[in-house]
């Protein structure tokens, strides 16, 4: 219907400059750490890619491209995966879970989405002087229960106590090892145009539950954290899709949008998402609407994205939906070639836009 070019050559050139800048590795140029560095968006990427990785993995590029939820270690020919994560969530208990449960599931899930069956965890506790013993005991129980459900053993640990005011009640660090499953051949660089993107269930539950649990908004809604162990779902996917399963990521801090952006960038592909296909619970959608937050950027603790070759997509989706906790799984988009490194959304209203990496911090300390 338009006779004029909707976008002039000059505008196109500026768009090109932005696209190039988006694809570049972030540099770290800040004088101090700010809360934005913890948000899982662009500032976090600049911290990891600009400050940490160059010093620890001088070969750089390879390590960065493979930056995944877990690293690989080969022990006498046995392929193992290893990961670590710290938990600083506030409040310690929230509808649907608690910090102890997160500390087990979060780390076990980083192994699972890397294609490794979680085997053992370490557990480090940083305790603030004055923490009621009752609260600690309840968290240890939560940890034991979650470990049993996830079928992992806590094999070692450590405790430290710091002066009042130097920590906020309780911080937990867990590290985990798992055995890489021979059915899994996963890599972010394995994405191919045409691959389908599956989302294992509704998004935004965890982050929204935490936001409301803090009581800052005086909003009440039946929203529960989705924290759960993901290995059973991954196991079912591996059975259904085998080598056609290209890559998986759990959509924790920074939400599903951040995962999609990371993968588009490391695989240098375009990702196109259908906004209308993304499952969001009505209560979560309502709370996010009120707060002006896009659920795609809200943290989850029991949801992941799987990239599957088109031939196996249907079987993979069916297998997912048969797994408890993944009944709402959906195909939400696909991989394309152009424009590389970008995530685009076809909006339900019929427009198209970019879904960029997060810049600001909608809410700190969600996990």
């Amino acid at each position: 219907m338009a006779t004029e070019q909707a976008i002039s050559d000059r505008e196109q050139k500026v768009l090109g400059i932005i696209a190039t800048a988006r694809g570049k590795r972030a540099k770290f140029r800040d004088e101090r750490i700010t809360m934005a560095h913890g948000a899982g968006g662009k500032a976090t990427a600049s911290l990891i890619e600009g400050l940490i990785v160059p010093k620890l993995a001088p070969s750089g590029e390879q390590a960065l491209n493979e930056l995944a939820d877990a690293g690989r270690v080969s022990i006498d020919g046995t392929q193992m995966a290893m990961t670590t994560d710290s938990y600083v969530v506030k409040p310690l208990r929230f509808p649907g879970g608690s910090i102890g449960e997160l500390a087990v599931n979060g780390t076990a899930n980083d192994l699972a989405v890397s294609g490794a069956r979680p085997l053992a965890l370490s557990l480090s506790l940083i305790l603030e002087e004055g923490l009621p013993a009752e609260i600690l005991a309840a968290e240890i129980e939560a940890i034991a229960k979650a470990a049993q459900e996830a079928n992992v053993e806590i094999v070692t640990g450590d405790t430290k106590v710091v002066e009042r005011g130097h920590a906020d009640g309780l911080y937990i660090t867990t590290s985990g090892v798992g055995q890489l499953d021979p059915r899994a051949q996963l890599s972010p660089t394995a994405l191919r145009p045409g691959d389908r993107i599956l989302l294992s269930g509704s998004i935004g539950d965890h982050g929204t539950a935490i936001m409301l649990a803090r009581g800052e908004f005086e909003l009440d809604a039946d929203i529960y954290s989705d924290t759960r162990a993901l290995w059973p779902a991954v196991d079912a996917l591996l059975d259904a899709a085998g080598p056609d399963l290209r890559c998986m990521r759990d959509a924790t801090r920074g939400g599903a949008a951040s995962v999609l952006n990371e993968l588009a960038r490391s695989a240098q592909v375009a990702i196109v998402v259908e906004e209308g296909a993304i499952p969001v619970k009505p209560a979560v959608a309502g709370a996010c609407e009120l707060l002006g937050i896009d659920p795609m950027y809200v943290a989850n603790e029991g949801k992941f994205l799987a990239f599957v070759a088109p031939e196996s997509a249907e079987a993979a989706l069916a297998a997912l939906r048969n797994t408890p906790g993944c009944e709402d799984a959906a195909e939400i988009g696909e991989v394309r070639t152009e424009p590389p490194g970008m995530v685009l959304v076809n909006t339900s209203f019929g427009g198209r836009r970019v879904m960029d990496q997060l810049v600001g911090d909608p809410l700190p300390r969600i996990c």
């Binding site: 505008e11 500026v14 209203f349 960029d356």
Partner: protein, 371 residues
């Protein structure tokens, strides 16, 4: 989501787009300004301009509350935040706005006690919880947020909370619109009127636009269908040779505004003789301050505030963007030196800023097929 999804219906959107196409004269270029940053955000978020004919151009206006705050004001805020014993509170968007020497977020990392709040009442609550500290609230926004600041100030007085003050940077919508209309470098055909501001001031204050300047105004809601319908109503006025204030957002906006809200504002505030706007310079009677009766709650009186005027960075063209003279991408530093991660200008910070919306949501021509 009931009562929301109805306004995001894609089929109705297509139908409206067809109606709009039927109204435009081929060969005529239409420039319509959406005054409010909330509209700018929606336009990019839903890809609304994808649905408009190419000769209907949406121009972004000055109605983003964060964007209009000048650098000197941010410096004043940071200086207050560093005062001993002060807890400085502000809205989240404001934290990342660069002053001449860093942002509030950086001042927080450097040790100042700066807290993000969602409403001025949260700031008052912090004051009650910390009686031995001084709590300052950095109040920004148009008439949309000014009433809640006014109510908070009245409550602080009633509850005799002595450790709470407000650094008032509230602004009013009519003076910048008048300044825009007086400016010779901008030719506009009509205005999508600011819906949120109008919930407070009503539609009446915009009558001067058709009367004095001969341009149609349609006060609009924020959902994609609202905005499309408002554009349709403006084009229809133009096609029929009418020129008046119409109210598309009747479900929320009464013509007379919210009298209660206007009352509490009048109780607490008075107009400043002039107020500096980012990129627009000083505009007479465009800013609010606490009046004499509430002077004891004015942070600028209780503390010494530098109040130094800081010139906008040379490269920054926020002023032209706020006036709608240039599009975000036409700014010299857009996307290169100025990005959401490292903003130079305010328009790149707030989610309602034209530059941030354009940068974050991008734009793709229908012609450019994605393979």
């Amino acid at each position: 989501m009931r009562f929301v999804d109805e306004y995001r219906d894609a089929d109705l959107g297509q139908a409206l787009a067809g109606e709009i196409l039927g109204l435009v004269e081929p060969g005529r270029h239409y420039k319509v300004m959406e005054v409010c940053g909330g509209h700018t955000h929606s336009i990019y978020k839903y890809g609304i301009d994808d649905l408009l004919p190419a000769n209907v151009e949406l121009v972004h206006g000055p109605g983003c509350p964060v964007c209009v705050i000048p650098m000197g004001r941010v410096d004043d805020g940071i200086s207050l935040a560093h005062e001993p014993g002060v807890i400085f509170t502000c809205f989240g968007d404001m934290m990342r706005v660069p002053g001449s020497n860093g942002s509030l977020l950086e001042a927080k990392a450097a040790g100042a006690d700066i807290r993000m709040v969602y409403s001025p009442l949260d700031a008052l609550r912090i004051a009650k919880q910390n009686p031995d500290r001084e709590v300052v609230f950095f109040a920004i926004g148009f008439e949309t947020t000014a009433p809640s600041t006014a109510l908070t100030i009245i409550r602080a007085r009633q509850e005799e909370i002595k450790n709470f003050t407000v650094m008032c940077s509230h602004v009013t919508i009519v003076p910048p619109l008048r300044a825009l209309l007086e400016s010779p470098d901008l030719r506009l055909d009509g205005f999508v009127g600011p819906g949120h501001v109008s919930t407070v001031v009503g539609a009446r204050p915009f009558e001067f636009i058709p009367v004095d300047y001969g341009k149609p105004v349609v006060v609009s809601g924020f959902e994609p269908l609202d905005i499309l319908q408002s554009v349709y109503m403006i084009l229809k006025q133009l096609a029929e040779g009418r020129c008046e204030v119409e109210n598309q957002y009747k479900r929320i906006v009464p013509y007379e505004g919210n009298l209660k809200a206007l009352e509490v504002m009048a109780e607490v505030f008075e107009l400043r003789p002039h107020f500096e706007w980012r990129g627009l310079g000083f505009i007479s009677h465009s800013g609010l301050k606490l009046n004499q009766n509430y002077a004891d709650l004015d942070a600028e009186i209780r503390f010494s505030v530098p109040g130094v005027r800081v010139a906008d960075p040379k490269a920054c063209q926020c002023g032209e963007v706020l006036k709608g003279v240039i599009k975000p991408w036409e700014c010299k530093v857009f996307g290169s030196a100025c990005t959401p991660e490292r903003p130079i200008g305010t328009c790149m910070v707030s989610s309602e800023g034209a530059c941030a919306a354009y940068y974050n949501f991008g734009r793709f021509a229908r012609e450019r097929e994605v393979v």
